[in-house]
C-alpha cells in the first residue's frame, strides 16, 4: 500500500462512512421500533440528532474533553481507512485501541460518578473483547500467510471456510463492540436509572455529536470485519459479503431487543470463555490439519 492510495482511502472512508453509519443507525432504530410494534423515527433521524447537537450551546465540563473525543474520532477514522485500504490488520487493531483509550480518557476527565462508572466499564469491555481481536489477527495470518487485509481478495476460498469458529467468536464480541444489549454496559441507552448515560453522561453539544459520529465510523468498520470473512478471489464474493453483513447486523438488532443487560462479570467470563474455547480450537485445527 503506497501513500497515495492510502490517502485516497482515508478521504473516501472519512466521507462515505458517516453516511453509511448514519443510515445503518437510522435503519436500526426503525427496525427496533417495528419489533416493539411502533412506527419509529424517520430513517434520517440520526443525522437530525447530530445536526441539532452541533447547533447547541457549547458548555464543556473541562478544557480537554472535546480534544479527547476528537482524538478518539480521528483514530477511529484512521483505523477504518487502514482497514478499507487493505492495510495491515495489526495496525488497524492498534489504532483502534488508541481510539478506545481516548474515549475512556474523555469519560474519566469529567470526574463525575456516572461517567466514571461508564469509563471503568468501557475498560472492562475492551479487556473482554481485545483477546479475540488479537486471536483474529493471528488466525488471519495463519489462514492467509499475511497480515495485509488486501490479500483476502486473492484467497482461493473465503476465510469463513478456514476460521469459522473465530467468526462465531467475533459475532459474540461484536455485540460488545457495538455496545448493544446484553453488553451495553458502558454507554447504556436504556439504563437511565442505573447509570444515566454511562461514559457519555458528561458529553454535551458538539462533544456528543462527535461521539455519535465516531459510533457511525466504528459500526462501519466492525461490519467491514464481518465482511472480511466472506471476500475471496471471485468477484461476486463482495455481494456475498454485503449480504452476510446485512444478515449479521439484523441478528445484532434481534439480540439487542431480546436480551436484558448482563452484569459485567458475566460479560467478561462469557467473552473470554467463548474466545478461548472457540479461538484456540480453531487455531489448533489450522495449525495441525
Amino acid at each position: 500500500m503506497d501513500l497515495i492510495s492510502f490517502v485516497i482511502a482515508l478521504v473516501a472512508f472519512a466521507l462515505v462512512a458517516p453516511f453509511l453509519g448514519g443510515l445503518i443507525k437510522g435503519a436500526d432504530r426503525i427496525i427496533t421500533a417495528r419489533i416493539q410494534d411502533r412506527v419509529g423515527p424517520p430513517l434520517l433521524q440520526p443525522f437530525y440528532d447530530v445536526q441539532k447537537l452541533w447547533a447547541k450551546q457549547s458548555k464543556p465540563v473541562n478544557d480537554f474533553i472535546g480534544f479527547y473525543v476528537l482524538m478518539s474520532l480521528i483514530f477511529a477514522i484512521l483505523a477504518g481507512a487502514f482497514f478499507f485500504a487493505g492495510g495491515n490488520f495489526l495496525m488497524v487493531v492498534f489504532v483502534l485501541t488508541l481510539s478506545a483509550l481516548f474515549f475512556v480518557l474523555a469519560a474519566f476527565s469529567a470526574r463525575s460518578p456516572y461517567a466514571d462508572a461508564g469509563a471503568s466499564r468501557e475498560i472492562i469491555q475492551v479487556a473482554a473483547y481485545e483477546p479475540l481481536v488479537i486471536l483474529m489477527a493471528v488466525a488471519f495470518y495463519l489462514a492467509s500467510h499475511s497480515f495485509n487485509i488486501s490479500v483476502s481478495a486473492t484467497l482461493e476460498k473465503p476465510l469463513i471456510c478456514e476460521i469459522p469458529l473465530i467468526f462465531l467468536a467475533l459475532l459474540f464480541v461484536l455485540t460488545i463492540k457495538l455496545r448493544k444489549s446484553p453488553f451495553d454496559l458502558s454507554v447504556a441507552t436504556e439504563a437511565h436509572q442505573e447509570l444515566v448515560k454511562g461514559a457519555i453522561t458528561e458529553f454535551s453539544g458538539r462533544t456528543l455529536a462527535l461521539y455519535e459520529v465516531m459510533e457511525w465510523y466504528e459500526s462501519v468498520l466492525f461490519l467491514g470485519w464481518v465482511g472480511l470473512f466472506f471476500v475471496f478471489s471471485a468477484g461476486w464474493s463482495w455481494f456475498l459479503a454485503l449480504g452476510c453483513v446485512i444478515v449479521v447486523y439484523f441478528l445484532e438488532i434481534m439480540i439487542d431487543n431480546n436480551f436484558a443487560r448482563v452484569k459485567w462479570q458475566a460479560m467478561f467470563k462469557w467473552s473470554w470463555l467463548v474466545t478461548l474455547v472457540l479461538g484456540f480450537i480453531n487455531l489448533f485445527a489450522l495449525y495441525w490439519i
Binding site: R38, F47, Y48, D49, H192, T201
Partner: protein, 148 residues
C-alpha cells in the same frame, strides 16, 4: 424547520406529583403513542436534553433540584409544565409545603393542563414547545453572530 425541532430530546422530572402525570408521560413512549416518530427520545440526562417536562407541584425540597436540572441543560431549551399540579399547584395548591407550579422555580414555556394530563396533551405541548425551541435557536445563532 431545522433539525432542532426534528430531534427534541426530553428529560422528565417528577417534582411532587401523585405519579398520575408521570405515568402519562411514560405512556406517550409506548407503542400506542410512540413519540419517537417525531424524534423524541427520553434521555434522563439534563446535559443531553432539549425539553424539560416537569410534573407535580414544587415544594421546598425539590425546588433546588428543578433549578439544577434547568441550569445543566444547554440552550436552546424549553420547559413544559405537565399536568395541573405543575401548571398551578393543582389539588395540592393549598398544602402547607407547596410553593406553587413549576413556574415558581424556573421559567416555564408551555403549560399542559389536565389531571391527569392526557398523552395527547403532552404530545401537543411538546410540539408547541418545538416552535419556541426554534425561536430560541434562531436567537442563539443571532447572538453568536453578533459576538463575532
Amino acid at each position: 424547520m431545522s433539525s432542532t425541532s426534528k430531534s427534541p430530546w426530553v428529560i422528565h422530572y417528577d417534582a411532587s406529583s401523585c405519579n398520575g402525570c408521570d405515568i402519562e408521560v411514560l405512556a406517550a413512549l409506548t407503542p400506542l403513542y410512540d413519540v419517537e416518530r417525531f424524534g423524541i427520545v427520553n434521555t434522563g440526562n439534563p446535559k443531553h436534553a432539549d425539553i424539560f417536562l416537569v410534573t407535580g407541584s414544587v415544594n421546598d425540597r425539590c425546588r433546588p433540584v428543578i433549578q439544577q436540572i434547568y441550569d445543566q441543560m444547554l440552550e436552546p431549551k424549553v420547559v413544559v409544565a405537565v399536568g395541573a399540579c405543575a401548571c398551578t399547584g393543582g389539588v395540592f395548591r393549598d398544602c402547607y409545603n407547596i410553593e406553587g407550579g413549576a413556574d415558581s422555580a424556573i421559567p416555564v414555556d408551555v403549560y399542559a393542563p389536565g389531571c391527569a394530563v392526557r398523552p395527547e396533551t403532552i404530545i401537543d405541548a411538546v410540539v408547541q414547545g418545538l416552535g419556541i425551541l426554534e425561536q430560541k435557536r434562531a436567537a442563539l445563532k443571532a447572538a453568536k453572530k453578533a459576538k463575532r
